[in-house]
């Protein structure tokens, strides 16, 4: 702990004490090597802290040097969680340097440089994070990159479609813009996590069970909340705000159980299969796409060929007419909720592999993309939602070839706004007056 010594001494009582201190410092230096301090000078009033991570994995024993005004200098090494913390004497600018030679071989700082300037503001503390990645330049050809993005985008789009068609069906039959749909997505992933990690079921059992539980969850929500509210005659706006409240409550319930960090499902780092050129997909990506396609095909068959599917479309078209022609609207809506929640749960499991990782607000991160997909395809039309999702998914991934990765969702959201302005009925929707 005492290794990290710096050269700022308080006004000392004389040469002897100065010499003694220097001697002690030297002795500590000699005896405490190699360094393992993750905190230094914690008696100073202000704090500079940070995190060193390689793709979300913390890196230990990375040397960080903090220098500041008046020759202030202090060294620390990151702890097992990749964290470090130093105390600094003044509200000033400090330079934080990450010693790249202490990183594992073959990786480097990927965002920004290894030297950062931080300013200790009035809050008295400041943090800076280093993101580490493979330190090689990307030499893949544009065509290969494009194909890889397209494949990833299709995978993302298919996963998004599972979430969107459910939300779209719910909107079509009940006119509810369900913000809590995001939490139905998270629910599936969280259930898969509990079944596969806490109860230690094999993953091929855990995922179907998680989807099943999601369906039960959908049924419970309809029976416990939405059906009574429909009976009560709440307006669409009121219902929407209720769904926002439900979304908030559920989101923090998930955080209560799984914490604020990211947890992984088993098998999330599967091997890459090279396809051609520099293009490769992981086993999980391929399985995920196959599952999505099979499920969507089954859903399409259900919607087009079965009695309940036809009844669903009839209600989406005109609920009063459907009710008048003898369709049990409540029963169909209940089935729609079960299917929507099951699909959303499956989407959540696939999204957990796509991201990768399960986080308490993962559903909320794609909620607006789901809305974008639904609106793009045409509100309330299931196949519109499918088309919309594929467009949004590929657009998000391909656009990151040109725009920075942290802005890739912006393209989809701008598209959402533009669609609502110029063709609010969507691609497959019917033109009707919505003004």
């Amino acid at each position: 702990m005492a290794l990290a010594k710096h050269s700022t001494f308080r006004r000392s009582a004389g040469l002897v004490s100065l010499l003694l201190t220097a001697l002690v410092a030297l002795l500590t230096f000699l005896s405490a090597s190699p360094a393992s301090a993750d905190e230094a000078n914690m008696d100073e009033p202000f704090r500079v802290s940070g995190n060193v991570q390689n793709k979300g994995e913390p890196l230990e024993d990375v040397l960080i040097t903090v220098t500041g005004p008046g020759g202030y200098e202090v060294e620390v090494e990151t702890d097992a969680e990749g964290k470090w913390r130093v105390g600094v004497p003044e509200e000033e600018e400090y330079e934080v340097t990450l010693d790249e030679s202490t990183l594992p071989d073959g990786v480097a700082v990927v965002e920004g440089s290894n030297v950062r300037t931080v300013e200790v503001g009035p809050a008295g503390r400041v943090s800076t994070n280093f993101f580490i990645g493979v330190g090689e330049r990307n030499v893949t050809s544009f065509f290969d990159q494009f194909v890889e993005r397209l494949a990833t985008g299709l995978n993302f789009g298919l996963m998004l479609a599972l979430a969107s068609i459910g939300a779209s069906l719910v909107f079509g039959t009940t006119r509810l813009s369900n913000f809590a749909h995001a939490e139905m997505v998270t629910f599936g992933a969280v259930m898969a996590y509990f079944l596969s990690v806490a109860i230690a079921l094999p993953i091929y059992l855990a995922i179907p069970l998680a989807v099943l539980l999601s369906g039960v969850f959908g049924l419970a929500m309809d029976a416990g909340l939405w059906r009574p509210l429909r009976r009560k005659g709440l307006g669409t706006v009121q219902l929407m705000i209720v769904s926002i409240g439900l979304s908030l409550a559920l989101r923090y319930i998930f955080q209560f159980f799984i914490g604020g960090g990211t947890v992984q499902l088993p098998g999330s780092n599967s091997p890459q299969i090279p396809l051609f050129g520099a293009v490769s997909l992981s086993v999980i990506d391929i399985v995920s796409m196959a599952i999505s396609i099979v499920v969507i095909a089954a859903f399409a068959f259900w919607l087009l060929r079965t009695r309940i599917g036809k009844a669903t479309r009839a209600i989406s078209d005109n609920p009063s007419l459907a009710a008048a022609s003898g369709i049990d609207v409540d029963r169909v809506v209940r089935i729609v909720w079960i299917i929507a929640a099951g699909l959303a749960g499956l989407a959540g499991v696939l999204y957990a592999y796509y991201r990768p990782g399960i986080k308490w607000d993962m559903g909320a991160q794609i909620l607006l993309l789901v809305f974008a997909a639904i609106t793009l395809g045409g509100l309330g039309t299931a196949f519109g939602a499918l088309v919309g999702s594929l467009i949004v998914g590929t657009l998000v991934e391909i656009s990151s070839l040109w725009i920075p990765a942290d802005l890739k969702y912006v393209g989809a959201l701008v598209l959402l706004i533009l669609i609502l302005l110029f063709r609010p009925q969507g691609i497959l929707g019917r033109r009707e007056r919505i003004g």
């Binding site: 706006v237 009121q238 705000i241 979304s247 908030l248 559920l250 302005l421 003004g435």
Partner: protein, 325 residues
């Protein structure tokens, strides 16, 4: 458990900068949602515009604090125009989705590393206080009593914030009893009827959007005044929290947004102090991090209960329709 400390923190949040900021944003939202019937789900975007407008004009352009206020207000008017001109013709829930998307786009633009020099990306902005604190008329020192003891800068933020709330509430009160306000409420109740009377509904809605947007931006500025601008604050949850405060107090009332924000923050502060304390002293069988997430669960549940059972809020009039069907 240190009840003295818990109660003192709770009492202090009565006039905290966050409470004042929420009150301003909620008043803005009451103009949008309560009086004009516009479902603006992007109030967080307006707040971000205000906060970043203020901080950037001080840090990048070196403007004095009052000019920062004007920049924040001006930027929010521009944002309201960009948002409003194309979207105000849309049906209610469409408007909600467009505004929430626009606010997210804005947040992502503030968050991205591309404009790091100006926006500070994920670290946000800080250290823009010099001009504001230099203008502080209160001499240095600590003032107040009991839980309300702050230094000169603390009081300067609070006094200015409360003054802004008072002025804004006065503006809304006088506007809503004017012919302009009656037309606005008419639009909320029945847009077509007002249009049939020859009023330009679109212009009224746009004016309401700009007015409420300015109040939202002022809320953002007050939020940023005491400490720093952090992009993690202006997420969609912020919009939902402001909605909770607004609906709690009463959407179509003058004092509802203020009362709602005070209750919201007093409750939040109380729970954020008492729940972890209960957990550490073993009364609640959960960890203290788990205990502090419980208060957000409660926010969600309260929001649902208000909308279902008492959509007019505490101060609202049940006869006055506060939800557009």
């Amino acid at each position: 458990m240190d009840w003295g400390q818990i109660l003192s923190n709770t009492a202090s949040s009565l006039i905290g900068p966050a409470t004042i900021a929420y009150a301003l944003a909620a008043i803005g939202l009451s103009v949008h949602f309560g009086y004009a019937g516009l479902i603006n789900m992007g109030i967080a975007g307006f707040m971000a515009i205000g906060a970043y407008g203020y901080a950037i004009s001080a840090l990048t352009f070196g403007l004095p604090w009052w000019a920062g206020f004007l920049v924040g207000i001006g930027a929010s008017i521009v944002f309201a125009l960009i948002l409003g001109i194309p979207t105000l013709r849309l049906r209610g829930d469409y408007l909600a989705i467009v505004t929430i998307a626009a606010a997210e786009v804005l947040r992502l633009l503030f968050l991205t590393g591309e404009f790091d020099d100006v926006t500070g990306s994920a670290d946000g902005l800080s250290g823009y206080h010099a001009s504001f604190r230099a203008a502080n008329p209160i001499p240095d020192g600590t003032y107040g009593f009991g839980p309300w003891t702050y230094n000169a800068n603390g009081w300067w933020v609070r006094i200015l914030g409360i003054a802004i709330v008072a002025i804004v509430a006065l503006i809304v009160w006088s506007l809503m009893r004017s012919p302009w306000g009656r037309v606005l409420k008419g639009i909320r109740e029945d847009e077509d009827a007002v249009r049939a009377l020859g009023k330009n509904v679109f212009a009224y809605k746009l004016q309401a959007l700009m007015l409420g947007g300015v109040f939202g931006a002022l809320g953002g500025i007050v939020y940023a005044l005491p400490s720093a601008v952090n992009p993690g604050v202006y997420v969609t949850s912020l919009t939902f929290f402001v909605y909770t405060a607004l609906l709690l107090g009463g959407a179509a009332t003058i004092f509802g947004p203020i009362l709602g924000s005070v209750i919201f923050w007093v409750l939040q502060t109380f729970l954020s102090n008492v729940l972890p304390a209960l957990a550490t002293s073993g009364i609640l069988p959960v960890t203290s991090t788990q205990a502090s997430t419980l208060r957000f669960v409660l926010v969600g549940v309260i929001l649902m209960l208000i909308v279902i059972f008492s959509p007019q809020g505490i101060l609202g009039n049940k006869k006055e329709l506060t939800f557009v069907k």
